[in-house]
């Protein structure tokens, strides 16, 4: 075991962990206000480790028996991780055995990917260390939020509801500023999403499905209009969560 690399990974994960703590705090509050109990919110965070997927998940869970929709929503929202995993798998060194890949592969998030990909070669002890504090931060923040959700006054909870959305804006805007393609794709997605929200017949379709349709149509148009020619688009277009 390489303790030095493990320690290096753990300290690289500290800022991510702190960020996750505060974001998952809001998720905990949202989950309990959607009717889930604290242990349900905690389990979701411990087993998923993804903000957008979990937020979409609780919005689907409040309806009964929408299992197929849940699956489609999760696949659509989380497909980006496949891309990051592919990209990361090309940078791993010989320390990664097959078992390590199956275990550590479950911890690829936007930020963990973002830090790991800047290394020349990714060692498994470094990567394992890197995941520890973000995981703890994500789980404990959810727990604290789920428990405090009942204690905090209404007006504070109300304000916190915008936190995850604000974070999404903070991810998209800087990239849209850099790339016309991302601006166009995002605007198409917003336009479609508004259409599904406000057009009477369409507004009956549940949110999980509409997000998938909006994302796939907007992205498809974007991929046709603005094909990426670089070898590794992730190095030119950073993704962060």
């Amino acid at each position: 075991m390489n303790t030095a690399l493990l320690k290096k990974g753990i300290s690289a994960g500290l800022p991510i962990g702190l960020g996750y703590l505060s974001v998952s705090f809001t998720f905990g509050i949202m989950a309990t206000s959607a009717g889930l109990s604290w242990w349900q919110a905690l389990l979701i965070s411990m087993l998923n480790l993804t903000s957008a997927g979990q937020l979409a998940g609780i919005n689907i869970m409040i309806h009964p028996m929408q299992y197929i929709e849940m699956l489609i929503a999760q696949l659509t929202i989380n497909i980006r991780y496949s891309f990051m995993s592919v990209s990361l798998s090309q940078k791993t060194d010989d320390s990664f055995k097959m078992n390590d890949r199956w275990i550590l592969g479950g911890f690829v998030t936007d930020e963990i990917f973002g830090v790991a990909i800047t290394e020349d070669k990714v060692n498994k002890y470094f990567f394992a260390g890197l995941t520890i504090l973000p995981y703890i931060g994500w789980a404990s923040g959810t727990l604290i939020g789920a428990l405090l959700g009942n204690v905090l006054p209404d007006i504070v909870l109300n304000s916190l509801n915008i936190a995850l959305y604000a974070m999404f804006i903070a991810i998209v805007i800087p990239e849209a500023k850099k790339s016309v393609a991302i601006t166009v794709v995002s605007l198409i997605a917003v336009g479609l999403s508004c259409m599904f929200y406000f057009v009477p017949m369409l507004s009956n379709i549940s949110s999980g499905i509409t997000i998938c349709i909006c994302a796939i149509v907007a992205t498809g148009i974007g991929a046709i209009l603005f094909p990426i020619k670089e070898d590794d688009p992730l190095e030119t277009v950073e993704t962060k969560e």
Partner: protein, 106 residues
């Protein structure tokens, strides 16, 4: 929602989210060459986040006015590339102050 339904939902979420990360990490041996797939995978996070945020964000708080203030703050700070935390906290503060103003002052 009963516990059985919760655990089915949880299993669908957790297993699909795990596999979508782990399978490519474990099995990817060559780079993706197809331009359409590459572009698609590159753009999809932003489309998802944009569609999830709008118009839902305007109904996330008690009042669309306070939500709009939060969105504007988030936009401005994001344009200046502030960190995710800064943007989130500032947007919350904006909503909080607007709700106080709407409730107790106006």
């Amino acid at each position: 929602m009963d516990n059985i339904q919760f655990f089915i939902y949880l299993a669908i979420m957790a297993i699909s989210t795990y596999l979508i990360r782990a399978i490519p990490f474990a099995l990817a041996s060559r780079k993706i060459e197809n331009t359409f797939i590459k572009s698609f995978l590159c753009y999809i996070p932003y489309a998802v986040l944009a569609a999830m945020t709008f118009p839902a964000v305007f109904y996330a708080t008690k009042n669309p006015v306070s939500a709009t203030v939060g969105v504007i703050i988030a936009f401005i700070l994001a344009l200046f590339k502030r960190g995710l935390m800064t943007v989130a906290v500032a947007a919350c503060a904006g909503v909080f102050i607007t709700e106080i103003v709407l409730r107790y002052i106006l």
